[in-house]
């Protein structure tokens, strides 16, 4: 990837395009294998391990990292922090693409993807947390789509429609936060039903709270991380206010992330105490838990704080990256590493390369879509016709 790849009129055979193209070709081949050979042909899933990378990464991590959408829009539209306004559109775009890809990935994972609407139109399993997750993700995807529509409408010049949607902003934002609260927490609550399978250090009645709070952390960090990348690769697309607000956003979101991380650390410790799981801390799993808790919660909390106090934007950016990894690790732990811990190693799960391939393919599709939209539509700059319209 380099800056000039985005410049229209140049050769299509840029490094980004070549690599992305290869990945897409691989993804399409794997897709064919998946839908002709079944899950057995492409995954290491087994009767003991029904959920693998496609749930652990594509769904859990995907949704967590797309939390920037509701966090930013809530901050700007509900809490009145207008100085972060330039972060809203990229965040909404990231979230929209994130959720769209989550849904795409689910088509690979479930056995009969064309039945995905069944829970809503055929038979409702209302006692299932997955029903709740499904309903919220589906609705939130719609909300995000509507929230995002002003961008293509501006791009296409549909002024009326655009203004109509903008009027709905408050409603959509409230709705988005409600839905996000629900499904972010419910993703954690999915594992509440399996106390006998998830390691006691990770299993807690507070799992939904942990997932929700960590999604805020993930959202804040992703906005910082993603604006860093955007600045690096799409600098020429940014207008003055976006470039100028970039550091303000890093400082503000960093401060928020640091504080939320502190709270998260406290409730994680309380969870251990409430379940009296201290003795597990001296085991191998305990060690790994401490790595997660100290290395990826306490540490970024401290780094963010230092970064904010010293106005060190570089440190904040790196911490954001570190925190994002921490959230990924957390989701991996709950869904794969600490899950089925009671099984002998021969029955444990490790993803098949094709599973990784599909995940990479989906992320690549996301990047391509992001690049396509950012280079064409008013994401990182304000459309000249709608300046001062907010």
């Amino acid at each position: 990837m380099s800056e000039d790849t985005a410049t229209i009129g140049k050769s299509y055979f840029t490094p980004f395009n070549i690599i992305a193209g290869l990945i897409v070709i691989m993804g399409l081949v794997l897709t064919v294998i998946r839908f002709t050979g079944g899950l057995a042909a492409t995954t290491n899933l087994s009767d003991y391990n029904p959920w693998g990378l496609w749930i652990g990464f594509d769904l859990l991590v995907g949704v967590a990292l797309a939390a920037g959408g509701y966090v930013t829009s809530a901050a700007v539209y509900l809490f009145g922090m207008k100085k972060y306004h330039s972060a809203v559109r990229p965040a909404i775009l990231t979230a929209f693409l994130g959720y769209a890809l989550v849904v795409l990935a689910l088509h690979y994972d479930v056995g009969r993807p064309w039945r995905l609407p069944y829970p809503f139109i055929v038979q409702q399993g209302t006692t299932s947390l997955l029903f709740e997750v499904g309903a919220c993700v589906a609705l939130y995807l719609m909300v995000l789509f509507i929230e995002f529509t002003p961008v293509p409408l501006e791009w296409l010049g549909f002024k009326h429609a655009r203004n109509l949607v903008v009027k709905l902003t408050l409603l959509l934002t409230v709705f988005g936060v409600v839905l996000s609260t629900l499904h972010q927490s419910s993703l954690g609550a999915l594992f509440l039903i399996a106390p006998s399978k998830l390691h006691p250090l990770w299993y807690s009645p507070y799992l939904p709270v942990y997932f929700f709070v960590s999604s805020i952390i993930a959202g804040l960090s992703m906005v910082i991380f993603e604006s860093t990348l955007s600045f690096r690769f799409f600098k020429h697309k940014m207008d003055e206010s976006h470039s100028a607000e970039k550091d303000t956003i890093a400082l503000g979101f960093g401060k928020a992330a640091s504080f939320v991380l502190a709270g998260y650390f406290i409730i994680k410790v309380i969870g251990i105490s409430a379940g009296n799981q201290w003795h597990f801390l001296t085991t191998n799993y305990g060690l790994w838990y401490l790595v997660e808790l100290l290395g990826f919660v306490a540490l970024p909390c401290f780094f963010y704080a230092v970064g904010v106090r010293d106005k060190n934007v570089t440190l904040i950016k790196w911490t954001a990256f570190w925190t994002v990894i921490g959230v990924v690790i957390n989701r991996f732990n709950v869904s794969m590493i600490a899950f089925n811990w009671h099984l002998p190693s021969s029955e444990r799960y490790f993803p098949h390369w094709m599973e990784i391939g599909i995940s990479v393919f989906i992320v690549t599709v996301g990047l391509i879509a992001f690049k396509f939209i950012v280079t064409r539509m008013p994401i990182l700059y304000e459309h000249p016709e709608y300046k001062d319209a907010h």
């Binding site: 085991t283 305990g286 790595v291 540490l299 401290f302 970064g307 060190n312 570089t314 440190l315």
Partner: protein
């Protein structure tokens, strides 16, 4: 930016320290047993050094000390027990380098300085030596497990000892005089050591463990010192299961001479105190008991005489007494869980292969018929007859015992059907010919030499009931199918269907009796293919 950099440096330092400390902690936690051969070890000579327990909670895990390993090394160097043990009153004290556990620091220092000093010196001599650092002795994880077997003296071993000591019982047996506070020998009052020496030391009575190690080993050692044959002086010699099997067993042990009766009535003992208010007499007939025969069935007197060598009823009175821990005479004789009671021991006998085939499927706590009681609590001669004949209790008991018939009663061979055709699964297999007569005769033959079994199966048809259960004794008992039909009948939830009744009875019996063929899962072993 300068300020930022310093913050960054601080942060990097913090990361490094955190991650390092996590991994150092992790290393501590992850410590796994290092040598795999240690892990698999079982030894009989493990002594757990945890003497400091008496002075409060242990600060470190106890040390597992391998005694034989040390004595073996000492022996090679021609060093004796005195290397580690002090002596008192011409006897070696089992404690390490001290006579008493005085106080915490002193005991701890004795172990630390002496053990480590010796290990150091051995190492200095370039020999294989023991650990000198804390964690190598005080280990969290126990990698060696103990195979120590309890040791005791049976009739055979007792005979060998008494023969070696020319029947001088006083060599070992003693009593304690409270006044003079001295041990003395009382002829005719000998009992097993454990009657006085309990699990733990209580006041003047040292524990059995201590007593045995003081006396036995000391004697063995001194005898060995005189170049005579003696018992073991190392741990495994007595406590290793294989070593125990090597101990010479005398088959024909002459009867012990301790004034025990040959036959006796198990009954209430008439109180010598004439003013005794208890007037209760047993309602059941007293049981004639062949003490002589039972001596032969058991390896030690302790099997029955668990507290002393007096008559059962001296403690286990009819109503129960404090001495008998309120266990009444009836319970003492009939309790099933107890190894000392008649029924308890007989029940254990039923687990023998030749008995278990039938008895394993019999409910132990089932209500027995009254006639069964009479097998033991048999009616004696009417009182006036015995009085007229001037027969005393002993003779009476002997007569009763002599009148017992211990022969398993079976029907005439021709009355026992030779084979029984089982044809419940004709849709799948050919009919099975059950060799009925052969089975009956084998069962009878198996218990031919078992007096206990013969006596209890002396009623005609009793042995048939092993299979023909739940129906009255009869020469022609009902067919299995007359009760067992369809499975899972609501009225009789515990009654199996015909197929399961046959299968479980045959298989259960074969399993219990150790009959390996046909294998239970080999259908064609019984059912011939159609």
């Amino acid at each position: 930016m300068e300020k930022g950099r310093s913050g960054l440096q601080r942060a990097v330092g913090f990361v490094t320290i955190t991650i390092l400390s996590i991994f150092i902690m992790g290393l501590g936690v992850r410590k796994v047993p290092q040598s795999s051969d240690d892990a698999a070890k079982v030894r009989a000579d493990i002594i757990t050094i945890d003497y400091l327990k008496t002075f409060g909670e242990l600060e470190r895990p106890p040390v597992l000390f391998l005694h034989d390993k040390h004595t073996a090394v000492l022996e090679k160097k021609n060093k004796g027990c005195q290397t580690c043990h002090l002596s008192e009153n011409n006897q070696l004290v089992p404690k390490f380098k001290r006579l008493k556990d005085t106080d915490k620091t002193e005991v701890m220092d004795i172990f630390h300085t002496q053990c480590i000093a010796c290990h150091r010196q051995t190492a200095a001599n370039k020999e294989k030596s023991g650990p000198v650092s804390c964690g190598d002795c005080h280990k969290d994880e126990i990698t060696i497990s103990s195979s120590r077997q309890p040791m005791g003296m049976d009739k055979s071993l007792h005979f060998r000892h008494s023969k070696a000591h020319k029947e001088k019982c006083e060599t070992c047996h003693h009593e304690y005089n409270e006044q003079t506070q001295k041990l003395f020998y009382a002829k005719g009052k000998e009992g097993t050591c454990r009657y006085c020496h309990g699990k733990t030391t209580v006041e003047k009575k040292i524990s059995m463990r201590l007593a045995a190690h003081l006396s036995c080993i000391d004697c063995h050692r001194k005898t060995l010192g005189k170049n005579q044959i003696a018992g073991p002086i190392n741990c495994s010699g007595c406590h290793d299961i294989n070593a125990q099997k090597m101990i010479e067993v005398v088959d024909d042990v002459p009867r012990l001479k301790r004034n025990q009766p040959d036959v006796v009535f198990v009954k209430k003992i008439r109180s010598k105190d004439k003013n005794s208010t208890t007037k209760t007499e047993a309602r059941m007939n007293a049981v004639a008991f062949s003490h002589f025969a039972h001596e032969g069935y058991n390896h030690t007197c302790r099997v029955c005489h668990h507290a002393d060598l007096n008559a059962c009823a001296s403690c286990h009175t009819l109503q129960g007494s404090k001495d008998g821990k309120q266990v009444k005479l009836e319970q003492a004789m009939h309790q099933l869980q107890s190894e000392q009671s008649c029924l308890g021991c007989h029940q254990i006998n039923q687990q023998e292969k030749q008995c278990a085939g039938c008895h394993a499927s019999l409910e132990q706590r089932r209500k027995r018929e009254e006639a069964t009681c009479r097998n033991c609590n048999a009616s004696p001669l009417p009182e006036n007859t015995s009085a007229a004949l001037e027969i005393d209790d002993k003779t009476q008991a002997a007569r009763l015992l002599a009148s017992r018939i211990a022969v398993t009663a079976t029907y005439n061979k021709e009355d026992i059907p030779e084979k029984v055709v089982i044809d419940g699964l004709l849709n799948k297999y050919k009919a099975v010919d059950l060799p009925h007569r052969k089975i009956v005769l084998t069962l009878v033959r198996n218990i031919k030499d078992n007096k206990l079994a013969n006596y209890f199966h002396s009623d005609l048809g009793t042995i048939c009931q092993g299979c023909h259960h739940n129906s009255p004794l009869s020469k022609k008992p009902p067919k299995c199918a007359s009760c067992h039909g369809r499975p899972f009948v609501a009225d009789h939830p515990l009654r199996p269907g015909l197929m399961a009744a046959y299968h479980s009875q045959c298989m259960e019996c074969h399993k219990e009796m150790g009959i390996e063929k046909p294998v239970a899962t080999d259908c064609n072993g019984c059912h011939k293919e159609k």
